[in-house]
Amino acid sequence: MFIKNKTKLIISLNIVWVVLMMLLGSWWIYLIMSFGKHASTLGLGRDTDRVVNMLLWEGSTFFGLMFLLSASLFILYLRDLKKSQAMQAFFASLTHELKTPLASIKLQGEVIHESAEDSGNQKLIKLTERLIEDTGVLESQMDKLLQLSRLERGGGFNLMSINLVHKIKQLIKREKNFLTINFNSESDELIVQADEHALEIIFKNLFENTKIHAPQKQVDISIVSKTDTITIRYSDQGHFKGDTNRLGELFYKINSKKGSGIGLYLIHKLIQKMNGDIAITSTSPFTLELSLKKDSTHA
């Protein structure tokens, strides 16, 4: 959807540009033609025809070159777009193809881990634990690539009424072994218009960022209901040292080797697609506010 909209905009701008050039060119030719009639007043005498011809040729060459330049730029843009779409499709299919062998590696790692536990082989237990942990990291990065490609290609979005309190409680349960999460809501039922899968991706990425960047694995989440929106305040112990205005830019990282620079971009785009807002309200401790539209039937 994003790429499609951008393409439409560029094609429209290109058409406007060509039409403007044609109009300017016609106006130029008209001026040159009428210049001949008034040349005598300028005292050019016998050189009038030569001057008119010179202006006509130079003007036409100038507009011709401008036209060619615009056309070649447009063709280059279309080629680039096609190439980037092909690259995205390639990464999506490659990531997908890699999932099966990764599943096989993870499965074999887990089977060895289980037999190491049975035999009490501590060295093998530790090694397989690391192996399984690393397959998890690889899986998470591959998932991000797939989600990114899906989003850029305008993957299906299904806005529906969702009880945000219930959904967040479910998502918190999944993280119970990795993070300490304090959750606070003024009500047990706060209904928003959202895509369930998108909400899962948003929270998965937020939790992952906390695990990577925050010194303590502690998160505070609170939900506040406003007139038309419901705001989720997500806060951890991290310190954000980058430019808050650039947050949500693809591949934006803050002098850090950690992370891929995709997570916050995904959150930003998904929130936008659900007609919501995202804002960093504090950089230290890191606090992010996500606002989603209330479901009108429950507002």
């Binding site: 997908h96 599943a103 899986e139 998932d143 349960k173 369930e196």
Partner: protein
């Protein structure tokens, strides 16, 4: 012990998983193509079918539909690298018990199988056929008979929800308890998912001309199977 049909074209994954399941006391038959799976299904009954989706000779989703039609008592579990919501919904709409995405944790599979085994044990304690007004329930066959005498096949989830409501008849059953018991602690379907399953069961109740049974929604709690004696 469960008889499991594993349809997986990736050799290493198929070998390891079938060896592991056999070592856990199940009887796992591993095949790599739909054609082989069809032959196995004609020879034997399987409690569980673990199906990959992208296969060399067709789609596991289409094959899943065939299994649901010819062997409704076989529990379907999809095992696929495709993790887009559309494919997941398609898989669940066929009537699959679950859709597990690759790479999966071994625990995910073992927990599902344990739950299937437990459900089978509970179902075995229930009568072959239960009559309520003009309606009939056959839990072991995964089917119900409506007020017009028509047989309706139930998916494993629909059957499990009806079973839970029936075991607690005339009492309110918490929606979260349904999710926890039927989907398990490690799975998190939305409350709407449960509502969708209830819709089909409610329609079946409404066909009873004697109006002896209805599924009531209890606000902020869940549901109640109300049976009038």
């Amino acid at each position: 012990m469960l008889r499991i049909l594993l349809l997986e074209d990736e050799i290493n994954l198929g070998t390891t998983l079938s060896e592991y399941l056999n070592s856990k006391g199940h009887q796992c038959h591993w095949v790599q193509t739909i054609q082989e799976a069809e032959r196995e299904l004609q020879k034997d009954f399987f409690h569980v079918a673990l199906l990959d989706i992208g296969l060399p000779d067709g789609s596991g989703l289409d094959f899943g539909k065939k299994i649901r039609k010819h062997s409704p008592q076989t529990v379907l579990l999809f095992l696929s690298a495709l993790n887009d919501p559309e494919t997941k919904v398609q898989g669940l709409e066929i009537g699959a018990e679950d859709y597990i995405t690759k790479p999966f944790a071994l625990k995910e599979i073992t927990l599902r199988l344990e739950r299937i085994l437990k459900n089978r044990e509970i179902t075995a304690t229930l009568p072959e056929e239960i009559q309520i007004g003009g309606l009939k329930i056959r839990f072991r066959q995964f089917e119900v008979v409506d007020g017009n005498g028509e047989n309706i096949a139930l998916s494993q989830k629909e059957c499990a929800i009806l079973e839970m409501l029936y075991q607690n008849k005339n009492e309110a059953v918490n929606r979260d308890d349904i999710i926890e018991k039927i989907w398990g602690e490690d799975k998190y379907p939305s409350q709407r998912t449960v509502d969708n399953y209830i819709v089909k069961l409610r329609k079946w109740c409404e066909t009873d001309q004697q109006k002896k049974v209805e599924i009531q929604s209890i606000r902020s709690i869940g549901y109640k199977l109300h049976i009038i004696n």
